[in-house]
Amino acid sequence: MSIKIGKKTYAERIQAGIDNAFMRQAVSSAQGRFRSGRLKAAEDLGDWEEWRTRGEEIRSHTMENLDYYLHQLSEQVEKRGGTVYFAKTAEEANQYVQKIAREKEAKKVVKSKSMVTEEIGLNEALEESGCEVVESDLGEWILQLDEDPPSHIVTPALHKNKEQIRETFAEKKGYTGSDQPEALAAFAREQLRQDFLSADIGVTGCNFAVAESGAVTLVTNEGNARMVTSLPDTHISVMGMERIVPTWEELEVVVSLLTRAAVGQKLTSYITALTGTRLESEVDGPEDFHLVIVDNGRSKILGTEFQSALHCIRCAACINACPVYRHVGGHSYGSIYPGPIGAVLTPLLDGYEDHKDLPYASTLCAACTEACPVKIPLHEHLIRHREIIVERENMGSKAEGVMMKGYAKWASTSAAYKLSTKMAHTALKPWTEDDYISNGPGPLKGWTDSRDFPAPARQSFRSWYKQREKRRNDG
């Protein structure tokens, strides 16, 4: 699975979501419960607005100095016996993990829930190299048995009822018990315990890495992440490059924000901070630890007006607050990141081409922005996306004068400019000759039919224009 789910069009997915009565009901009651849990937890904590401010300050400071903190993190992990791999793309990350699996002759990999491994399609990559991959989160396990995509970041199997789950267990695993949630969970506990004990590699995501000490922190309730990192001899943690805080003092704040905003708990049952490999005198924990830090399009967002989208701590509060999500359900977004944050992030990571309907999946009521524990102006980002899409769609059809004006405006806002193509500058290379695009992909296509267009470099409109003149004269 990659960031994009399925091949259906946006309209088809929405219709399917609306037609699924159980899903709609489940989503709406889940939203209500998550939302009231969040509000209650916020109230309990007191000074919620100040906490949000603190959260925002932490996230923006970290993002502004991301290179520094990632450097520090990698030094610390190395000191503690771990290996760090910086992966520019999903493919690089997957290939590295495949390489480790090969070296270890791994047959079985147990995982705890992680968005970034879904984003890069790690399960498929591992299966290709002959590993059995077991998702150990209860909800993820259910989906895996059923080969179904997740519909919610926090409770991925939200769209399934217990009778469906009982059937899945019976069909795939020979379960003979009732559809009582406790009985279903006990069965999963017993089945998965064997997997934890026999796995060669444990794979986790990373909620927050701590730069000062090299710790990777996992926030869970079920205890499976602790299993995954305590029992197999090798632990691989895959983190989105933005999931980092400077010190343990910041960690404490963002964890408090995450657990309260996500599930309304003061803390979840397990907050586990793992640093490097186990020590010589220790018996459990991995003897081999790898941290894979993934860019996969994130760096393109840095330095743009969308930078704060990288502040996201994946709490799903915006999703639970969203009236559109309530109506259409998680699958309609066609992305592993649903809801308002998905509508903001998906086009940034995967390009506008396949996702240009997403920014319209919002009423711009701003409930998301209000819910966000790190104050990301989500609805403003959605408005900006729409403007960019409109500007781009108009491009091909208007007279040249208008086009030039449009371009000047478009290119002067660096986000629109940098994000206007599916890939970053370097990825554009195959289409460039002497840094001129003669037949570029996507939005530039209309332009390149009639003229040479500069490769998106940091070149001002004026200097491009000058060069173009020169080229014309030379040519």
Binding site: D47, E50, W51, T53, R54, E57, I58, H61, E64, L66, D67, Y68, Y69, H71, T83, V84, K88, D137, G139, I142, P156, K162, P181, A185, R189, L197, E212, S213, A215, N221, E222, G223, R226, M227, L231, P246, T247, W248, L251, V253, V255, S256, Q265, K266, L267, Y270, I271, T272, A273, T275, R278, L279, E282, V283, D284, I293, S299, K300, L302, G303
Partner: protein
């Protein structure tokens, strides 16, 4: 080589941010400190009360004891759970609390007690896997959230608090602090002094649970199903 592709990766980030690589960063000054006000000035007894209340929320049973009554209290807890096999953390605190003697007595009565022993390697984990209860000492206890902090080490293996169905934490009263803020601060201070944090810090809050099936809370999934904290007044 243990760090791969770092330079190009980080150079690109600096580029995108439109500035040269940063090799030094001043710690930020934050405009607000809401975390310091939570339970500020609470006395030790007040913190115990907060912990007690929170334990109800997290499906955890809380008992109180003194060093003298601890064995008795622990025995009642074990009998209540009908547990006959115990994986226990090692270390000097067993002596201080008198638990080592108590464990000997239990063994004499036919209980199976295994105190973590690094020299026995994987056997520790195997025992924990079939033990009915795991007993550990809290290193730092967070009143607000009802959280037991474990600095896992050679005395306190990760499996003890994870694999058995019942989780029992001995909570010395003086380990109780208002909230996670104090834990973060302490670890940060130690790191700054050059004392590296333990390879695994586990913040454990009650038994494991899940809401993945129709949003119903299920207590007890992969980790422990039941939990008891015993606050020891004079430890």
């Amino acid at each position: 080589m243990t760090i791969h592709h770092r330079e190009s990766f980080l150079n690109n980030i600096a580029d995108q941010l439109g500035r040269p690589r940063r090799t030094e960063v001043e710690p930020p000054e934050y405009s607000v400190q809401p975390q310091d006000r939570v339970l500020a000035g609470a006395t030790a007894d007040e913190l115990v009360d907060v912990l007690d209340k929170q334990c109800e929320v997290i499906h955890t049973n809380l008992e109180k004891a003194t060093v003298e009554t601890l064995p008795e209290v622990l025995r009642t807890v074990l009998e209540g759970y009908d547990v006959r096999s115990i994986a226990a953390a090692a270390g000097p605190r067993n002596e201080v609390s008198g638990l080592d003697e108590f464990y000997n007595r239990l063994t004499g009565e036919g209980y199976e007690v295994h105190v973590w022993d690094e020299h026995e390697g994987r056997h520790n984990v195997e025992f924990a896997e079939r033990a009915g209860a795991g007993i550990v000492f809290s290193d730092l206890t967070l009143a607000e959230s009802g959280t037991v902090t474990l600095f896992n080490d050679r005395f306190n293996g990760r499996s003890i608090s994870l694999l058995p169905e019942t989780f029992i934490a001995i909570v010395p009263k003086r380990t109780i602090v208002p909230r996670m803020t104090q834990a973060g601060r302490l670890i940060h201070a130690e790191e700054s002094k050059g004392n590296p944090v333990s390879s695994c810090v586990s913040f454990v809050t009650g038994p494991s649970n899940s809401a993945d099936i129709e949003m119903n809370l299920i207590v007890g999934v992969h980790g422990p199903v039941k939990a008891t904290y015993i606050v020891v007044e004079d430890m």
